[in-house]
């Protein structure tokens, strides 16, 4: 080892610490606040989530702030889909996924930027980077919603959570669900690559339901804040499984339906 010819003894890295331009502000940066004026007001969507529904459906939905574990299936899914919005920053997919769950379970609106700031201050979000997997769900816990989090889950596990009225967030490879049949394109033009190997999962989405109405072609229904068509985005189950596997089937689920 001592004879390594091309390895430098000390890179000088630490001698430079502190020489860079110092932060003039802390928290949300100018880059980020540029988007604030365009912030979608979730509360509006939430308050209108029952608009146009028959009275009996509205009764089932209950007053804002109460989530019934029984309102699963299409009803639960549709209400959640109404809450969807496009993420306003490049790296807030996990934050928006938690926002959608939070608003669905509490009935209270909270903005993406507020949650982003809170996550940043608590060390769960890295502006310009995103949210580490181990912190997806921490915002929910901080707002009183217990979660269960981990990898190695199955579709059966996922569906079981949805059947109980719980909310589910998973980590996937975005391109697998956005461009499932365009591998040949990406193999001929170099527009998307993990730089280094082993970097497959790059996106968090909410799973709102699994549609088995066509038994031979089950579809996973997502709230995907990363694309314009992400409200109730329907992804074939096999494609979803492929995209989910890139995160070792990482899943965050709320524990029991919450009444807050």
């Amino acid at each position: 080892m001592d004879d390594l010819p091309f390895i430098f003894h000390d890179t000088g890295m630490h001698t430079n610490m502190g020489e860079g331009p110092h932060a003039s502000s802390f928290g949300i940066t100018q880059h980020q606040t540029e988007y604030q004026s365009g912030e979608h007001h979730q509360g509006d969507a939430h308050q209108n989530r029952g608009a146009g529904l028959p009275d009996f459906v509205l009764r089932l939905l209950g007053p804002a702030g109460i989530h019934f574990g029984e309102d699963k299936g299409w009803l639960n899914s549709n209400a959640d889909i109404d809450l969807w919005h496009l993420q306003h920053h490049d790296d807030t997919c996990a934050i928006v996924s938690q926002q959608l769950v939070l608003e669905s379970l509490t009935g209270h609106s909270v903005s993406e930027n507020e949650l982003m700031q809170e996550a940043y201050e608590r060390g769960w979000y890295n502006p310009g980077g995103g949210t580490p997997a181990a912190h997806v769900g921490d915002l929910l816990q901080a707002h009183g919603i217990p979660i269960e989090r981990g990898g190695g889950r199955s579709i059966k596990d996922l569906e079981s959570q949805l059947d109980q009225g719980n909310k589910v967030i998973v980590a996937v490879n975005g391109n697998d669900i956005w461009y499932p049949h365009t591998l040949s394109i990406f193999d001929t033009i170099l527009t998307d690559i993990g730089f280094m190997p082993g970097q497959p999962a790059n996106h968090a989405v909410q799973v709102v339901s699994i549609d088995h109405s066509n038994a031979s072609h089950p579809m996973v229904v997502l709230n995907d804040s990363g694309i314009f068509t992400g409200a109730g985005e329907r992804v074939p189950l096999d494609i979803f499984e492929q995209a989910w596997a890139t995160s070792n089937d990482f899943m965050v689920s709320t524990e029991k339906a919450q009444t807050i």
């Binding site: 003894h9 890295n126 912190h135 001929t188 170099l190 998307d192 190997p197």
Partner: protein, 177 residues
Amino acid sequence: MSQQTEVEDVLVKIRENPVFKHLVPMEAGIGWPVPIRRNGSVYLCIPTFGLQRAVGDHPVLIYPPFATITLLWPNLVIVEYVNLRWKKLWSEKEFATPAGTFPHPEIASLTLAQYNEMRTQLLKHYDSMLDASMDEAGMGEFTKLLSKMMEPPLLPYYRKLFPKYYDYFIPQDSVPN
């Protein structure tokens, strides 16, 4: 799954490390590692940076490095995690602003397969460097490949993090303005 080179293997396995999972966003990129020798031991320092995948016609955005993780080679014990934001190496605004896009012109015409092959060749040279088997010819090839594959928007940050290393392998006067 075992990778083609030892360094590739490490770069895959590091993502499963609890420290990494707790501190590094899953969508973050791993930059070109830097071997370091100190007190007779060899370490591998891995920079991480923000990376936003291409959506539609939009390019891949890359952000300045926000952390480095240093491993003892070859047992891969993490000896240091440096939060570059905490160290204030660059401004908060800079951290959250794209430094540039990928791919850069030098490699833009490559297919994904060609890129992966070139990356593997470069990482094989890292293996040689780490096991002290690199010769002069290998060093020349390493320098050539690193210069070609290095993302220009990240180079100024790497140069600040590892000045001796990059002054040697990619001298300032070798990079066109």
